[in-house]
């Protein structure tokens, strides 16, 4: 009976209740959706880091990571690889050589890490091979008489391997893609021009186009101006096993794009046999084994058992390799909680106000109820229930709307293209697919109920203080 009365009481003053309900709906929706976007970005980053960059577990000499000493290779690599591959829970293993060096083109140079890999096993462990930019080549698929290197987009731009040019054929294809003539006209003065870098291209084009034109056709123009000569050259320089400077010309096998400019700038993949020939290392000598597991959840179990089996080698799981990544996941969930609590606290003010109003307005009625024998506990819980119902109606509506919008945007994602540079510099994709776990919704629902209860305490206490006789006399 109390439940029913409380529920009906919520709807007694519809307009006023709706204001509170809508404010809760908006607050919860805004909070949950904003968090889903942030969370989506972070999950994407974690996923991408694991799938494209580090896999789940690394095995190497205990001192290797200190300064990538070329001498510190893994003992008895074949047996170790075979043993690891047969471990339950391990999906694939790939051996690597890791060397620090420098990449040069005719005009520019950059410090890089050179990874000597076996394309077949690498493919089983990481998905980096699938991120090749169309038209730039492939992941060591095509036969070639040259030594090949697979490099990141950011490095390719830095080294001027990717360039931007505007010429007749480019303008033609723009016309085919329905870029209006007046826009093309503005680009004609650049015809035949090769830009030194992406930056200078952007700047020059921005200089002639209006904001609206940039917005509408910028992406197409950039796509068409993008120019890459297949099998461009690049020199890799590094120190060999005897610490003598060595190096060779490599041609570009393909260019990968993983939306993380730091990684793209620094990691160059070459075939291990090519590298071994230059370093003087044996062709089956490796610095590191990287491991992909069947299931992310089993990371800890598998890495512990590997630690037990592999004496004299360092076994690190991704949480240990990138503690910041693991920490950040923890830290952001704390941040989510704080953000939600702030919003709920703001909402609580509205609820307290409304419930206080309810109590003062119903003085007579509450007095009557006490007079006919409803005890204080019941009065208290009736008011509390009304407040909880009020909060829940708003909260659940907010959750439903957020859920719907998350599902709606989850497929196509939300593109923060104008901040792409900043996002990618931090290793985040600028195209975000919002996502949030079901357990978060449960947590939020619980928080809403708690807010409802807490907000009703003061008004309910006020109601108890009412003197029934006094209450009945009030006009």
């Amino acid at each position: 009976m109390i439940w029913k009365t409380a529920w009906k009481n919520v709807w007694r003053n519809k307009v006023r209740s709706l204001v509170v309900i809508i404010s809760i709906t908006i607050g919860i929706f805004g909070g949950v959706f904003a968090i889903a976007v942030m969370n989506g970005a972070i999950e994407q980053k974690v996923d991408a880091t694991l799938n494209d960059e580090i896999a789940h577990i690394h095995i190497n000499d205990p001192a290797f990571r200190d300064n990538y000493d070329i001498q510190l290779s893994v003992d008895q690599p074949e047996q170790t690889i075979a043993m690891v591959r047969n471990m339950p829970g391990v999906e694939a293993v790939a051996p690597r050589t890791v060397i620090t060096g420098m990449a040069n083109t005719a005009t520019k140079s950059a410090g890089v890490q050179i990874l000597g890999i076996n394309p077949e096993s690498e493919r089983e462990v990481l998905q980096l091979c699938q991120t090749t930019i169309p038209g730039t080549g492939d992941f060591f698929d095509a036969e070639s008489r040259y030594q090949l290197a697979y490099i990141g987009e950011a490095l390719a731009k830095e080294l001027n391997i990717i360039r931007y040019r505007i010429d007749e054929s480019m303008l033609d294809s723009l016309a085919k893609r329905e870029v209006p003539a007046e826009v093309l006209e503005k680009l004609v003065p650049f015809s035949g021009h090769r830009f030194k870098s992406e930056k200078s291209f952007k700047k020059e084009v921005k200089g002639v186009l209006s904001m609206k034109e940039q917005h509408e056709y910028g992406a197409v123009i950039k796509e068409e101006a993008w120019s890459f000569r297949a099998r461009s050259k690049m020199t890799l320089t590094f120190l060999d096993k005897d610490q003598m400077q060595t190096g060779a010309v490599f041609r570009i096998a393909g260019i990968y794009d993983i939306k993380n400019s730091m990684y793209e700038m620094s990691q160059v993949l070459v075939q291990n046999e090519d590298l071994a020939a230059l370093t003087g290392m044996a062709s089956n000598e490796y610095h590191q084994l990287i491991i992909r597991l069947d299931d992310l959840e089993s990371t800890k179990v598998v890495s512990e058992s590997l630690k037990g089996k592999l004496d004299g080698l360092e076994v690190m799981n991704w949480k240990e390799i990138q503690p910041e990544l693991a920490m950040m996941t923890d830290m952001v969930s704390k941040f989510y909680a704080i953000f939600m609590v702030i919003i709920l606290a703001a909402l609580a003010f509205g609820i307290v106000n409304k419930m206080l109003m309810v109590v003062l307005e119903r003085t007579k009625e509450l007095g009557m109820l006490t007079a006919i024998g409803m005890n204080k506990k019941r009065v208290f819980s009736m008011i509390m229930l009304e407040s909880v119902f009020l909060s829940l109606v708003g909260g659940v509506t907010g959750i439903i709307i957020s859920k719907a919008l998350i599902s709606a945007t989850a497929r196509k994602g939300i593109n923060f293209a104008s901040y792409a540079e900043g996002f990618e510099a931090m290793g985040y994709p600028a195209h975000i697919y919002p996502v949030i776990s079901t357990s978060f919704f449960i947590t939020v629902t619980v928080l809403i109920i708690i807010t409802g209860i807490l907000s009703s305490i003061y008004p309910a206490l006020k109601a108890l203080k009412l003197d029934p006789a006094e209450a009945l006399r009030t006009e």
Binding site: V15, R16, V19, V20, I22, S23, I26, G27, G30, G31, A34, D66, N67, Y68, D69, I70, Q71, T100, G101, M102, N104, A106, T107, K108, S109, A110, G111, V112, N160, K196, S197, K199, T237, F238, L239, Q243, Q245, E324, M327, M328, M331, I342, I343, A345, A346, L347, F349, G350, V352, N353, K354, L356, M357, E361, Y419, E421, G422, F423, A425, M426
Partner: protein, 471 residues
Amino acid sequence: MNNLKLAWRNLWRNRRRTLITSASIFFAVFFALVMRSLQLGSYDHMYKNAIESYTGYIQVQHKDFWDEKIVDNTFAYNQQLEQQLLADKNVEACIPRFESFALASNGPQTKGVLVMGVDPDKEIHLSNVKDKMVKYRLSPEAIEKIRQDPNLPEKVKELAILFENSAYTNNSRLQLDLGIDDKKASELMPAIEGHAAFKNGFIHLGEPGVWVGEKLSQYLQLGIGDTIVLISQGYHATTAAGKYEIKGIVKLPLPDIDNKIVYLPLDICQDLFNAEKNLTSLALAVDDNQDKAIAQTVQRISGLVSKDQKVMEWREMNEVMVSQMDADDKGGQIMLGILYLVIAFGVFGTVLMLTAERKREFGVLVAIGMQKKKLASIMTMEMLLIGLIGILAGALVASIVILYGVEHPLIFKGETAKIFEEYGMEPKMAFWNIDTYYIWQMVIVAFMVLLAIAYPLRKIFGMKVVNALRA
């Protein structure tokens, strides 16, 4: 009986409700101000770090240098230009630089590094490198000495081990990491400073020798007196290689730069790259660093430089950072937007209750001759007063926090500090002093109140007196 007085008295009719509504505004304003202060403070701090340890506010460069940082894109030092630049009212000093990339190695360890040829004396005007030199370091030997010291508490010894190999440019950070409070500082710090003292030397024009970033020195396992080998490509594709003694270690507040910077004396650097007397850039130290002053200075200077040169300001040179901060800024604003929206609804609810319960009174007032306009203005005033109380209280409390925070920025240590560093940030959150953003909060709240009051005002104007009286 003026309107304001009536509005004011009305406010205290339902004291609780007024206070709750004001409290909700207080809450929002307080959060908004502190958050804005932290955001703006952090951006400013980040920018200052980037500007002071690397780019400076304004640089004169070879026109292609920024897009293509190669040794060929340099210009010859020109005294006349320097004189002209110095004559500008906002330019304090011209700092010549030669910047390039090289592969640095120490035996088996190699790494790509940023080589900066500087004039150490002139650099003082801008990047005050001397302040950034490592003064203390918890090296294994230093930790051993601390552990042996009978006067030091156990806790300090444990923390020292935890922070093994950390380097410090000042003693306050060292004190913080070792968990020593201000009261004990004068007693304990001198001994610790003695144990952890780190001797750095200077570099001078004409003398081969380098300073390296602290993170880089750790990576390459180099200390003072060790030799670093630099290999690169010089002017007109010549080979550039040299061996230098490490004279000092600097710790820059930008982890991304700290792990790759090598400072060389300018002339030694020019020799290394066979660049004669060429420079890659002239960084300018300015007097007034406000955005507007910088923009004006850039405009004035642009007229002085030759066709082969261009003038860049810090925003262009720190594009990525600016874009990062912009994204963060937008995120923060969205969060505040949600908060304010929620509060606006709360205010709306209050206005609604207030109108409902005073409906009859409004009827009486209009019946005995008060114009609706006047009634509406009293209502508006009442709500604005509620807003004002909230704003003033919020601003007051926030000011206390902010004024304290400006003097005592939040400094993170341990794991949290690492996360900051992963994003290339110093693990420090500074507050931005009270500024125009305060006014913005007031405007927003006032706007919010006006928005919330629109509906009830319409009700007043549409009110039928007879119906109101019957309520």
